[in-house]
């Protein structure tokens, strides 16, 4: 029996049951099934009908008010646009994302998502389907309010570029908010995360909507977009916002995917590749759009920010389970070279440490290569701070990797380690201060007892006059910390090499 071979001869179907594929059926085969279903459900559901009706009603009211308030050379057109955008944005950054959130929560609560995962839909396609459905809703809501936006243009309230840029930003906000909502819903896989996910999503999207209604209603949004459109920074801002949206969406989807994937699937490589891609995108944007005179400032600020991002990612990388899952062992690259290159990107805390070290080198190397040579005083301080962050990153993340080894090898052990590591930083910051308080009666100033407090130590030692004395220590600690991690990194690499050798041997004997 096959899918094409009916199990039993079909009984007489009701008249509504299609027997021949229609043009729509054939065309819709190319679409993501989640998109088809979400749109079908939305169209048949009450929420969509209600919100469209309310949006139409509001746009009629705005139109009537605008017509009544119309005066030649008055600002009725601008008022109509402000009101239209203030109506549109809550739909796009609250209603659409919340519908995606509810849809995901329903699938998780009812166990439907498990049924989906057993089909050919991989988590990535499920999540993309939800984003595509959000895009369709974006188009529908914009279409509903389009007459109002067109009216505001015809009344000479706003020019066409302002409308288009406003809609582009609205699209970015809608997609990013939907990705965030879907990601929050997916985290509800863990029962402990559900209340947090509900709260974060409702509060985050609700506050963003309220803030935006106020911003747009006051006219500040239209004014800002209008100014931006006429300024020289229009392209770089639009590209910057588009890139930031893309990064936020990819990160949200990676997080959501990691909660939906089979426990033995690879959940780490996506994050690690994303981390390595971030500096390329950020520095590429700087080089492409920023004037050469500002390169040093942007490289320094982005370099520092990306270092902090790397440390946050590093905390997750060094607290993973140590070994490859059976599935991953069976799928490592066969060739020696490919397995060597791929190893730091494969899951496992030992390989995570190696990945972090490579990232620090990658980031430092890019900044060094692209550095224009000039720097002001504050940039110098920022770079020295970044330099001092490196030994702390190596020491604390090494400590996190070591701590993780004492915890159970389950996923729960990863979560505990991710709480323990920041806790350890806090303890190392508070303990010397308490000792000072008990012995001296106050915490007067930095001394060597506070050396494990990264924030205070960096703040005290990032000045040019202190730099020469602290630099040898920073280098020494970094090298010492790295040397301590070498056995683990080699072990991580060796595990991949051994799995690759097994695959080669199997291929040879097959």
């Amino acid at each position: 029996m096959t899918a094409a071979d009916p199990i039993v001869s079909a009984a007489t179907p009701p008249s509504t049951l299609p027997t021949e594929p229609t043009r729509w059926t054939l065309w819709s085969d190319r679409l993501n099934p989640i998109l088809v279903r979400e749109v079908l459900q939305s169209v048949k559901g009450r929420v969509f009908a209600l919100t469209v009706f309310v949006a139409l009603l509001v746009s009629v009211v705005i139109a009537v008010v605008t017509v009544n308030a119309y005066e030649p050379r008055g600002d009725a057109g601008r008022m109509a646009f402000n009101a239209g955008i203030a109506t549109l944005m809550p739909l796009l950054i609250f209603v659409v994302p919340m519908q995606a959130y509810q849809s995901m929560r329903l699938e998780l609560r009812g166990g439907i998502v498990e049924q989906l995962l057993l089909s050919r839909l991989v988590p990535r396609r499920i999540l993309w389907g939800k984003l595509q459905a959000a895009l369709v809703q974006f188009v529908l809501y914009v279409a509903v309010l389009a007459p109002l936006l067109a009216t505001s243009y015809l009344l000479r309230g706003v020019d066409l570029p302002t409308i288009l840029v406003s809609l582009l930003f609205a699209l970015c906000a809608c997609v990013a908010a939907t990705a965030f909502a879907v990601s929050s819903a997916a985290q509800g896989v863990l029962p402990a995360m559900q209340p947090l996910a509900n709260l974060a999503t409702a509060a985050g999207l609700g506050l963003a909507s309220f803030a935006f209604v106020g911003f747009a209603g006051s006219g500040a949004y239209t004014y800002s977009v209008g100014w931006l459109v006429r300024s020289n920074e229009c392209t770089l801002t639009i590209v910057g916002i588009a890139l930031a949206t893309a990064a936020a969406v990819v990160l949200s989807l990676l997080v959501a995917q990691s909660f939906l994937l089979h426990a033995f699937e690879n959940k780490s490589t996506g994050f690690r590749v994303f981390l390595f891609a971030l500096p390329v995108v950020a520095f590429g944007w700087v080089l492409a759009f920023m004037p050469r005179s500002s390169h040093d400032e942007f490289l320094a600020v982005f370099g520092m920010s990306l270092l902090v991002v790397g440390i946050v990612f590093g905390q997750f990388m060094v607290t993973e389970q140590r070994e490859l899952s059976p599935r991953l062992r069976a799928h490592v690259p066969k060739s020696r070279l490919a397995s060597l290159v791929a190893a730091p990107f494969l899951p496992g805390r030992d390989r995570g440490m190696a990945c972090l070290v490579l990232y620090l080198a990658w980031l430092g190397g890019l900044v060094a290569v692209l550095w224009p040579g000039t720097s002001s005083r504050w940039i110098g301080e920022l770079l020295r701070s970044a330099g001092l962050c490196v030994p702390y990153a190596i020491v604390y993340l090494g400590l996190g990797r070591w701590l993780r080894g004492f915890l159970p090898s389950s996923v729960a052990g990863n979560h505990v380690a991710r709480v323990l590591l920041p806790l350890a930083v806090v303890v190392f910051m508070i303990l010397p201060a308490l000792v000072d308080l008990m012995l001296r009666g106050d915490v007067r100033g930095w001394h060597v007892g506070h050396v494990m407090n990264p924030f205070w130590t960096i703040d005290v030692h990032n000045r040019a006059e202190a730099w020469s004395s602290v630099l040898p220590w920073a280098i020494g600690v970094s090298i010492g910390g790295l040397l301590l991690q070498v056995p683990a990194m080699v072990r991580g690499q060796a595990e991949v090499a051994a799995a690759a050798a097994v695959r080669r041997e199997r291929a040879r004997t097959a």
Partner: protein
Amino acid sequence: MSAPLLEVRELWRSYPRVQAVRDLSFTLERGQITGFVGPNGAGKTTTMRIAATLDVPDRGDVFVEGTSVLVEPRAARARIGYMSDQFHPYPNLDVLEFLDFFARAQGLRGRQRLTTVRSVASFCGLLEFADRPATGLSKGMGQRLHLAKTMLHDPSLLILDEPASGLDPRARIEFRALLKELAAAGKGILISSHILPELGEMCDAVVVLERGRRVVSGTIAEIQKAVQHEQAVTMRVLGDADAAERFLLTWPGVGSLRRDGARFVFPFAGDETALGELLARAIAAGVRVVEFTRTEADLEDIFLQTTKGNLQ
């Protein structure tokens, strides 16, 4: 020799403070319906979820047609239809749209999708409900829809977790008939249920679990043979029941006799020849026997004999 349809090999799975599955091994062949029996918390659902690639074991593996569910979960999924014990269809979709969506999710396209949805809906008796909202179906029809959705990609192995719970007797009978038809078509079915007589009627084999450990497994006949050291015999007589009782009490091999009016139930240690001899001698002794049956242990007896009722 081809690999068994399902092979569970030395499976271990623990949760905090609970060892859900301990060293569990068994196999299931094509066309076979295997009942998965055990008290609550015995590890049935855990094992089924591991086999369906929705959970991972601490040790051991499960193979579907020789494919490891741990190494190749995606390949294994194409061969598995898993029907969980809970079913929540999407709101705002009717029966046909629901099946159509899952058919799309299974990669079916165009005419093939329409044909499959229709034939599966027809097989499960859903055609006349095609326009009904999927959320508005009765429990029995909902289970049919759940089964139909599970069968869309024509899996060779069906894993059904408590599929008959909550169904009325008629719906159960119809559901059982569906499963028998599927087994006849060559599907392997692993089914868990608390309704043991029903499982006994449809299963070729059973695996009995207790506290995560397999206590007995095999075909029903094998297990009956293994657990039934003494066969239970029922005898009903006309006339002098006291004389019949005296006769039975003196006969070697007759165990503790239970009497209910003119009806006697007793365990008998002996083969069929000895049982025939008993009947012949009773008649010769003037006992007017009108009913004489040997009762085989059913699944409930097997379950009660093999498990101790330990919960975890």
